[in-house]
């Protein structure tokens, strides 16, 4: 799955029509799974195997939850043959990230970007370091409270910790919230 961070000018509210758009390539990291686990899964009955794969695909292409609470949403509650196609760029859910610098750490412009929901914090961290031309430690914070683990996906963090439909990431060159 290709991943891109699209930047947009800060004052533009219409992302798709933004004239200013950049992309960075994803590292396309292959997930590593123990061989014995793969063997175990391949020996599963067909139904289990298929539904497991659907579950994993579903999560990767998960629908973002609107601001209303999740329980209001109707979701299929039966195992049903749902349509699963390879995600193309139009289907990949994009999440709005707003970067905020803390203290004397330089800010970046634009501050608002779009990123695929399946990407992780480490992608974000690498991107930001490149933007800032910074080689040392970079601390990212969600909700000005905690540093998410590098392997957490943007979609999960967005669902739990968004503010006004944006995931606000504060950053600093030193520990800001001990």
């Amino acid at each position: 799955m290709s991943t891109t961070l699209h930047s947009e000018s800060d004052d533009s509210s219409s992302y798709s029509s933004s004239e200013y758009e950049e992309q960075i390539d994803d590292d396309k990291l292959q997930p590593k799974i123990p061989l014995s686990t793969s063997v175990f899964l391949e020996k599963l009955p067909k139904e289990q195997y298929q539904q497991l794969n659907k579950t994993i695909l579903d999560h990767e292409n998960q629908e973002l939850q609107p601001s209303t609470s999740k329980q209001d949403q109707a979701r299929p509650d039966l195992v049903s043959p749902r349509q699963h196609t390879q995600p193309d760029s139009a289907q990949i859910q994009k999440i709005t990230i707003r970067f905020q610098s803390i203290g004397s750490t330089p800010s970046i412009n634009p501050k608002v970007f779009k990123i695929s929901s399946s990407q992780t914090i480490s992608t974000l961290s690498r991107f930001l370091s490149q933007r800032l031309k910074h080689k040392g430690l970079l601390y990212l914070y969600v909700q000005n409270s905690f540093s998410p683990n590098p392997d957490e996906t943007i979609g999960d963090l967005f669902n739990s910790f968004k503010t006004n439909n944006e995931l606000i990431i504060s950053y600093c060159y030193s520990v800001a919230f001990g």
Binding site: D27, P34, L44, Q51, V79, Q143, N149
Partner: protein
Amino acid sequence: MNFTGASSSATTEIKRKLWNGCINIKVVLPHDSEDIEYLINIPRNSYLPIHFQQLISYFQNYVSYEIYKQALWFEYEGVPIAWNLPVGVLYDYLYLPSVIQERGGGGLDQNCWTIQLNLRGKYPAEYIIPFVYTNPDNTINYEQSLNEIIVNQLKQSCFVINGSAKPIMNLSESNSKLLWNSIVTRNLGQFTSLNKKIIPKQFQRIPVKIYIPGSTTVIQAPIHAYEDDKPVTLSRVLQRELPNLFTNDVKLARTYIHGIDISSIMDMPLHDIWTIFRHLDNFLYIIIIAMS
């Protein structure tokens, strides 16, 4: 079955057993023509870096270079092991499927998990979190990285529960040190009393992480403790988060917490299950294994 009716002494006993639950690990270092092995018994709710010192002292006897200068890491079947997860979660996520498959087969040593130690070579920083701190003598400071991860996980779970990480951010410095100390020295009494201070009284959501062996997917949904004033059960959560695997009638997978098949308590309120089975970072780790 329900724990609310159980006596508090029974609950305390279960918590004590979970706290003391251990895993046998055989650490293997490929060295010249023969492997060097070290057997270690690690608590399920501990973390690998807490035991690095012990491993380094042993393996240093066999190698000519200084182990302290470069970050070590572990692999299982070529998969780098994420040191930031509790050891029991790693075992269930990476090894439990093989254990289940071999059950009754007898081909696999169910009582010992063999992992490979790597001391040199390129640290797989794209897969697992690098250790970025060093001590004044240039040796790797593993404890600082682990401390940072656990404290931030505690803050994150605190935030999930009640929309604020204030209780832990307001913890005094001496109490923060005591909390960390109780984790490293495995002092259950001290840990419980300090942890009480950082768990919010008001409960909105429950911090849960769902792992699916065979994928790198981790599900962390905002799970509400109550729906329509009724406590949410674990089966309700699984039916909603994993609708392909769990329905009212069909279960295509089994659910493990702390290595225990918890099928019999699926209809308990998730909050009760969290109270008993959460890990040190106050997250409830659930492992889903598809099964016939």
